[in-house]
């Protein structure tokens, strides 16, 4: 496999300049951090002093944040990358997405989705890798033993030093420049899809650590550590959202099938669940349903916000323009005002609610507007038409605001073309509240009834009334907007550029990078990932370690597994128990994965229908049952229960027979209990009852098929 190369000629000086700038910025930050720690509020001082200090600090930071924003400049994007012809899987939507598969030694593949992006400062579109996912195939083409493992949003990176330092400064609500490009480090994944529970435990561990240990070291440590963790987590979340958007979009436009339907819903639901503390612990059986519900909920919110914004625009005589993603979904919308209507008085007073921008008609800034304007033509029914359409009249329009639609309750203001600070103010308001209460006043939900009640009432009222100061989902919408800017063709380049510039100023997370840098980082990181993937000590070795970790549950009981997990957590991840690889244990891993695959399928079958044959293809069901029958000694109670339920929910003799064969070969008590339960079913006719009893009374021999398959599997893994 020939690696994909990206050339970035003519950019060196730009990058060097950028790095020098960042170094200076980092030095300033270090100095600031020192000063800050020195003058940090004394824990024993009164609340009044604390508040006073926090006000001063806040003011300083806000002023500072505005100055640093002025430094953000547009950067030139890299030239087009040239994908390897052998690696590219052509898609039906070749103009927008393409798929690349890279085989990994040891039996896996790296699947990457590339999109043709157009950055705001670019004229040419280029292919940019956006998301990579590792699928562990155990070296065969059978999907039954596949495991999805790591997911890399390629714009997600380890923050630079300056970013990290800024990220630990409380009340630093602005970006801290970009991460210097040119690094060859392997990008960090956002999730291990095969072990999502790790993240849940990590979250719980860090929360405990923060509460028990870090919080006790006084305000500076407490505030810094909390702020840093929060920024890191939100940065990660924003990248998760981006990955989700890319995957949804790829799915919606019907790209070449990279993942099965089940895999796609697993990836997406696991990503969605990263938002929740216990999300990683949710059982796989629920993933499909959870994903469907989330899709419904997001589309519901989108539709409501579309309509709310249209109605509010209509009521204020503004012009509403939905912005579409390439799949036709409207995730954002803009409001404009007709230039010739400025200064006109309307009978009704302007209502700012939900729009969250000031009255444009009485705004002097718009009268002397020298920003972007557009002229569009409308027919007699107020439809946008071509300029040469008979009867069309021109309207010169000034952009007012851009909103995100994918959030609960109300459209979220992302860009206010007259007041860049407006969305930032809203974005910050929630954080300020959280930071002041947590870091300075030391109040938390569990800290006092009064605070808890006050906070609950505040949250309820602001959420109920749809006030735009309490929007945890703003992050999501920003991330989507970045994607929209890169993919949407309908926006004028000048407007795109203006939106991007404003968007960068709005960001409150010091760890965020701007759009151009992200594109550059995506290319770099993809190259690094591919290099890592082909290195013998790279991805293949990591995969091997992961498999050996996965093998732990095949060799050890539950108690031991818990101990290993505990050791892992307490050593901050330094110790991870892994089994020694051997052909035998790899064969067992292969078998365990297949059993999981068939058990999950049978569980789904058993749960889904009152009569199996009406809904399912019985050949497929019998195949899974047969597999369970063949490896009865290895399967758990879940498969037992599924087989018994399927027996009772089918009238197909052959399927029933295989169910009984499965149950008879499963060597555990639950299988016997299930057989007993079946034998006692009053609706079962005598012939079947007798068969069930015969199975109960004499143990069934092990399946010869299984023995043969075991042998062949062991041989295969031995060769590997």
């Amino acid at each position: 496999m020939r690696p994909v190369e990206t050339t970035r000629r003519g950019q060196v000086s730009e990058q060097q300049r950028s790095r020098i700038g960042h170094l200076k910025e980092a030095r300033k930050l270090l100095q600031f951090a020192k000063d800050y720690i020195q003058m940090g509020p004394q824990p024993r001082r009164g609340l009044r002093n604390k508040s006073h200090l926090s006000e001063l600090l806040l003011t300083f930071l806000l002023v500072f944040s505005q100055i640093t924003q002025l430094k953000v400049t547009a950067q030139t994007l890299s030239e087009n990358s040239t994908p390897s012809a052998a690696a590219v899987v052509p898609t039906s939507t070749e103009k927008l997405f393409r798929l690349e598969r890279l085989p990994i030694a040891g039996g896996a593949e790296l699947i990457s989705i590339h999109a043709q992006l157009q950055g705001p400062a670019q004229n040419n579109r280029e292919w940019t890798p956006l998301v990579s996912i590792l699928r562990d195939t155990l070296g065969d083409s059978d999907p039954e033993n596949d495991r999805l493992r790591y997911l890399w949003p390629l714009t997600y990176t380890r923050p630079g030093l300056a970013q990290r330092l800024a990220g630990a400064v409380p009340f630093w609500y602005t970006r801290a420049g970009n991460k210097p490009t040119g690094s060859r480090k392997t990008p960090p994944p956002v999730i291990d899809l095969s072990a999502p529970e790790k993240q849940a435990w990590e979250k719980i561990f860090w929360t405990a650590l923060q509460t028990v240990l870090l919080d006790s070291y006084g305000m500076p440590i407490k505030a810094s550590s909390y702020t840093y963790r929060r920024n890191l987590s939100e940065y990660r979340r924003s990248q998760v959202v981006r990955a989700l958007s890319v995957l949804s979009l790829y799915q919606a436009v019907g790209g070449a099938p990279a993942f099965s339907e089940a895999e796609m819903s697993e990836i997406q639901s696991r990503l969605l669940l990263t938002d929740k503390t216990f999300g990683g612990l949710v059982d796989d059986h629920h993933l499909q349903r959870y994903y469907e519900r989330q899709v419904t909920s997001v589309r519901d919110e989108r539709g409501h916000n579309w309509e709310l914004l249209r109605q509010r625009a209509e009521a204020e005589s503004l012009i509403f323009e939905p912005l579409e993603m390439p799949d036709g979904s409207t995730t954002h919308a803009m409001l404009w005002i007709a230039k010739d209507e400025l200064g006109t008085k309307r009978k009704q007073t302007y209502d700012e609610r939900f729009l969250n921008i000031s009255d444009p008609r009485s705004d002097n800034r718009l009268k002397n507007w020298n920003g972007h304007t557009e002229t569009r033509f409308y027919d007699s029914e107020n439809r946008v038409v071509a300029a040469n359409t008979a009867g069309a009249h021109p309207v010169e329009m000034i952009p007012l605001a851009l909103y995100g639609l994918d959030n609960p309750k109300i459209p979220m203001l992302l860009v206010d073309f007259r007041d860049s600070f407006n969305p930032k103010k809203r974005e910050m308001s929630r954080r300020v509240l959280q930071d002041v209460t947590r870091n300075f006043v030391s109040l938390s939900g569990a800290g006092g009834v009064a605070f808890f009640l006050g906070r609950t009432v505040f949250d309820f009222v602001t959420a109920r009334r749809g006030m735009d100061i309490n929007q945890p989902s703003r992050l999501r919408t920003y991330s989507q907007l970045k994607l929209l800017l890169a993919l949407n063709n309908s926006l004028e380049p000048e407007l795109k550029s203006q939106i991007d510039a404003r968007l960068n100023r709005v960001s409150v997370n010091p760890l965020e990078n701007d759009l151009n840098t992200e594109v550059e980082l995506a290319h770099e990181q993809y190259q690094a990932l591919k290099a890592y993937a082909v290195r013998p000590d790279g991805l293949a070795a990591k995969l091997d370690r992961d498999r050996r970790e996965e093998m732990v549950r095949l060799k050890h009981g539950k108690a031991e597994q818990v101990l290993f997990r505990l050791a892992n957590i307490l050593s901050f991840g330094a110790y991870t128990h892994r089994e020694k690889a051997s052909p035998e244990i790899r064969s067992r891993l292969d078998l365990a994965r297949r059993i999981t695959y068939h058990t999950r399928f049978l569980h789904q079958v058993a749960k889904s229908s009152a009569r199996v044959e009406v809904v399912w293809n019985l050949d497929e069901v019998r195949r899974s049952l047969q597999f369970i029958a063949d490896y009865g000694a290895e399967v758990g109670p879940s498969a037992t229960h599924a087989a018994a339920t399927i027996f009772l929910r089918t009238e197909d003799d052959e399927t029933r027979r295989v169910c009984l064969a499965s149950l008879s070969r499963i060597q555990n008590e639950s299988a016997k209990a299930e057989l007993l339960r079946i034998s006692r079913d009053s609706r079962l006719d005598l012939v079947w009852k007798e068969r069930v009893l015969s199975y109960l009374n004499k143990p069934h021999p092990a399946s010869p098929t299984a023995a043969a398959a075991d042998k062949s599997r062991a041989e295969r893994f031995g060769q590997q």
Binding site: E261, L273, K276, T277, F278, G279, L281, V282, D283, H286, Y290, E292, R293, V295, T296, R299, D300, G303, H304, W306, E307, L308, R310, Q311, A313, E314, A315, S317, I319, F320, E321, P322, G328, K347, Q348, E381, N382, R383, K409, I410, V461, R464, R465, G466, S608, S609, A610, R611, V614, V615, W616, N617, E620, R683
Partner: protein
Amino acid sequence: MFVGATNSFAQAKRLVVLKVDGLPYSILDRSVQERNPRTGKSQLPWIEHVFYQRGARLRNFYVRGMSLSAPSWSLLDTGQHLQVKGNVEFDRYTLHTYDYLNFIPFYFKNAEGSRIDMPGAELLDALGLPLLCDAFPHDERYISFQLYQRGMRFATLRDGLKNRFVKNPRELLDEWTMGLQTRSVFFEQLEKELIQSLDNPKIRYLDLYISNFDHVAHHNRDRDSQMMELREMDSLVGRIWTAIANSSLAADTAFVMVSDHGFNTDEKIYSQGYNLVKLLGSRKGGGHHVITKRHLLLDYSLKGVNFMVPLITTTTDDSYYLKGQSTSYPTVLLDFDGNERASIHLRDNDLNLLQILLQHLQRNKLPDPVRRAATDAFFATVERRRVGWQKHLNELNEELVALRSRIQDQRKLWEAQPKNFTRREIELGYDDQKKRVFAQLEKSIGQEKIYSEYGRTLAGLLALKQESFAPLKLKLEDLIAKQAMGERNSIYQLQNYIVGEAPDGLQLRADGSLDGEKSFARVDYFALLHNITVRNNVQPAVSNRPIDLVANRIPSSQIKHLVHEEGLTADVIWVNGGGDKQALILAREDAKGNLSFRYLPIKGLTQDALGGFHFEMIAWQRDLPLRIFEDEQLIIPRGEDRAAWLSEWHTDLEWLHALHLTKYSNGIVGLYEELAYHRNPRLDLDEPGISPEEQLNRRFTQRQRNLAEADLLVVASNHWNFDVRGFNPGGNHGSFLRVSTHSTFMLAGGDKTQLPRGVIIDEPYDSLSFMPTMLALTGNLRDDKTPLPVLWSKGFRRFPGRLVKEVLPATPGKDPIAVTGASPTH
């Protein structure tokens, strides 16, 4: 003998009805036909298995009337012509609200014992119209929670919550993490109870009402979300069918799936809302304080958390003469529920006029000439309305006397009720009967109070004498009832509606009289509504005009001489499509109660101040209301001229055959069903043998129904809605568009039911066919239309709808139903 004859054809001993709110046949059918790529089976395998392969489905089943839940379920559940005309109805005299969809106040009232049935069932009881479930004894039926619900089982709520929360902690943690689905708690419990009840061979009627699809389709236009709900429903069908198959009455059970309306939802279009409340509150809309029964922007308001939902008043600052009086003198009642239509009640315009004049006359510094002219105008208005108002007042007073007497009787009956009931008596529903007595007593006491109040105020107004008139000493609220709309407005009033004083104040003519034309600001509501356009027109398939048509009922006595027709029913429906595109729907009824209609294209309908109507008849052409002429799906007899055929009288069945595939499906019949008065045999004042008191009670009940009639029925253009409670971008219903009226009706049954298998019925039917078909299926009809004596005694009467004969058991060469030719003699 009749019973024996009927029973020999009646095969289904048990009826299981799955009532699905808002399930469009077209979406369901498309989903059933679609294959699941993994299994190769239908996307809705159970519906295919049960109803497509082992049952019968009606490909053309339509709502008769509006595609709105409360009216539509009432048609399905009673089989009688429409009496419930909206999801919410208001009484014009008292602002009493009939809120048919609001479950939560019902639960509270039931818990405190003041109500036993949902408001819809309560109203139908008052009208003497029994429900389908009433055909079965109390202990032989299982009824789920629904719009026309009888009784309440708090145990269902309790067990539902218990099942949701008392479970494996791991499962609970997963559910909590993913978000608890509280909505499904009770549905799951109801399903569980239904399936348990199927094990009891004594239970012969079971129903389960589900509304998840309707709920999702209002919010989500996308196929995935709707398909998710359809798959849930499909699984439910499977579970019920399997439970039926496992029950002892499997062979005798008929399983029916029915829906109340279709759904106007499109994957590529957001349904757009238009705010009529805001329009009516604006200066150009009349500056009205508007009452609704749903909170505006409910989800965005703190008041919206109030489950008991009082009347919601939207106060306007643009009121001409009622500033600050929104709670005392609202002048518009608006029901927008259902969303593709709205019903608007405007206050009797002469009350506006009187109030404006009285407000002037109560000013100290009014110039004498103006005072004189205003006083004259005031009394001229009272005199003009005196006959009508006095008649209503006299009748109301008579009815209130009868009501008081009934209250006494009811009180005695209540006092005579036993305190405790045995288990058997509870099974038989005696405790519910007792609660019904109390609920009726409570209701009657309330009615007596509020109608008496209105009567007193009207009497005060009528008692005024010009010679002793001293406006400064009068209290306005003693003459003009607070929170009342008075009588319904005439077309003239709606076209010249006085909303306040003109900008230059009261103007006098040369003769010193008040110049009514110049003194008042007026609104023509038909023009106002039709001229609405919006600025943002961003969806290609959606027009920039939210209003499609406005419809009104006009007494045929006022119009028949202009249309040169005899034998018309009492009502003519005027349909105004804006500009010169209008029509009259004329109706006739034959001796058997069969209806015929004529659609008469007209233009420029106006009514003058004296009540005379003026319009011009026009030829059939494009763009008339319901757009029939240009519709390619119109089916008329081969060789017939389209305009000629359309100009003739046709029976409702002929219209249904001709129109059902057109864009507005059965709009002609639907508009008449919705807006006309329908004779209710149970309220027949001339029924032999009824006491004078009973006669008055019946008249009072009729009056209450008439008082719920709105002034204007406003129907939205395609993909528009009037929802102001929130937003329904996914889709809506309520209109007469085929997409909204095309509904679902499918049946399947065990061997002994003899229901046909794998049959598609193309013959069009409407909602009126459902009830008689169900009764015929269970052997409860003595002929095509008439219920058995046992049901007759329960209040069931002759059904106007056609039986779906294709699904009824038939023996070769015989009429499928035992037509005895007997007439009811009960």
